[in-house]
Symmetry: C2
Subunit: 346 residues, 2 copies
């Protein structure tokens, strides 16, 4: 089959590799119908050291179950499924807490053993815990983009809002007008936020943000951006800040605009390890810092229902579709901000 | 009057200074009945640069209202009161949120204008918002230590537990066997924690911790301490970690023992500004970091009622009482860990 391998920064190739096989009785093999490129794929696209071996890429898919291991009980060949971007057993104590991305029997795609999902076929470990069947949908559905968005991007935005305790009456500020940031806007609206301030400077994106529910857009960054949000909030700051970027300046912006006692919820994968947390940043004003890799599995059934019922249309973040051979160009287009998020059709 | 002034690290003096006066119509003057030395006073005791001017010390008191400004409406001369360690109007939007330590019209004691509370008399700004009357109590009450503890230490421990969302069924680990840590144990028990692991190595203190509700004591620190807590929690870690120290190693210990999706709540004033918050510490396992200066005022009426009703006895953290002239020795005794927390009687 064909699969996507990154050999170093800027070096993405589509190559022929062996088809995945059932390695464990709990595995399933899925034929990929749609995959996509994630904002987080751009981090190694900038920084991965060159290697001869390469790393299999991709962690989002919708597809059709082709084969199941002998221990799989909830799936059958032909089922149309969404795969969360991480796999998990979904039965252990940590999964039952709703933090499936920390499942001790789970893991992430993109290793030599498990492979990536920007490929024609995918091996899904812990298939019973990881794949969720979408009833009544096939490859011709108009809902494919929105269903694909549930694999990661929309439910990552939802996780940000959920961990930020967004509710009716909340003022939310979303930092970042990428696909996750826009998803966080949509999720905040669904959770009843009274006011949603979107910080971003790409008009095409912030326009979609307004359609998703943003009530204000702030194009300034840094100190100017902080001043603008404080002015919009009567000097008090935002109850909740959803940080959907992952770079340190966005974090610093977050504690500048959060209200005393408020919450900063991060879902942009931090490209830093150390950051201010002391009296002058978080502690002095009792700010709560939360967030992490979204336990998509925890939210998936409810979100599938919302998509099937037409209540949300998170697939609008996809503004380009390519075939598998054009994945390298998809990375380049997202990196150049020519495309917001690229879907791959097989 | 006599008041306590710190002139540099290790240099605490009791001196005669002018009596405080009503400067604003919202002020009150309180005659101090009991004050005390705080663990946070030990930070400048270690690090304050020497100065000729000095800094007035103390931020905890119970006492009797001597005089009120013309705008004060809820107090009268002779009222027996508790003063939270910060002053606030208790009417603004931030105070109504329950984060009075960030009141834009409030502040902290120990400035040249406001003075400190380790003194015979104290000026209390925003007196209506800051002083809470204790009905039916006078200077002869056996409850004075517990009432004094509500000025800071017990309600700081309570704030840690409250922000950590301690509730029935929670496993809590408290780092630090100082007076705040022991208070956090007692508050966690009040909030219904199922299991309370106290990390500390001073047996006299951890024994009081057990009486306050600790179910387990871990004397090890660092990696050994982390391993011990993980073993006690079946490898999963603690739902909530209450960090009552303020030094970086305690913070690092916190993210080592917190369960995925759990909460670290800090009330030890951080003696650092930068700390790990990225994928390898907080983000990767969806840890929430919270806490800050306790908005004691938010919790004060309920806690006074609990003390008057005999439901809690947080004053047991005081293990020594001195007169005003012996305050320098009180600092030294707490610094040498000869005393847990020293009360000052006037």
């Amino acid at each position: 089959m064909k699969a996507t391998i990154m050999y170093g920064a800027g070096d993405v190739r589509v190559e022929t590799v062996p088809d995945p096989i059932i390695s464990e009785p709990t595995d399933a093999i899925v034929r990929v119908v749609r995959a996509c490129v994630c904002g987080s794929d751009l981090h190694p696209y900038h920084s991965m050291p060159a290697s001869e071996k390469g790393t299999p890429m991709g962690h989002e898919l919708i597809g059709v179950v082709e084969e199941i291991g002998s221990a799989v009980t909830t799936l059958q060949r032909g089922d149309f499924v969404v795969a969360p971007f991480a796999y998990q057993d979904n039965t252990c104590a940590i999964c039952r807490d709703g933090f499936q991305t920390s499942c001790p029997h789970g893991g992430f795609y993109g290793t030599p053993e498990v492979g990536g999902l920007q490929a024609e076929f995918a091996r899904i470990p812990q298939a019973d815990g990881s794949l969720v069947v979408v009833p009544g949908v096939d490859e011709s559905s108009d809902l494919l983009p929105s269903l694909l968005s549930l694999s990661d991007v929309y439910l990552t935005g939802h996780h940000a809002a959920h961990m930020g305790r967004v509710s009716a009456g909340t003022t939310v500020t979303v930092i970042g007008d990428g696909a996750v940031g826009l998803s966080a806007v949509l999720a905040s609206r669904r959770l009843g936020a009274e006011r949603i301030i979107l910080m971003g400077r790409h008009t095409a994106r912030t326009d979609l943000g307004r359609e998703f529910g943003a009530t204000d857009v702030v194009a300034e960054r840094g100190d100017e951006g902080i001043a603008a949000v404080l002015e919009l909030t009567g000097g008090e700051g935002s109850h909740v800040v959803l940080e959907a970027v992952g770079h340190l300046p966005a974090y610093e912006q977050s504690y500048g605009i959060v209200r005393p006692g408020g919450v900063i919820s991060r879902v942009g994968v931090p490209q830093y390890e150390e950051a201010p947390v002391g009296f002058g940043s978080l502690f002095g004003k009792n700010v709560t810092l939360t967030g992490g890799p979204a336990p998509v599995r925890a939210y998936l059934e409810a979100a599938i229902r919302e998509v099937l019922d037409g209540e949300i249309d998170p697939g609008r973040v996809f503004d380009r579709t390519v075939g598998l051979d054009d994945i390298p160009a998809a990375y380049a287009a997202m990196d150049a901000r020519e495309a917001l998020k690229v879907m791959v059709a097989f």
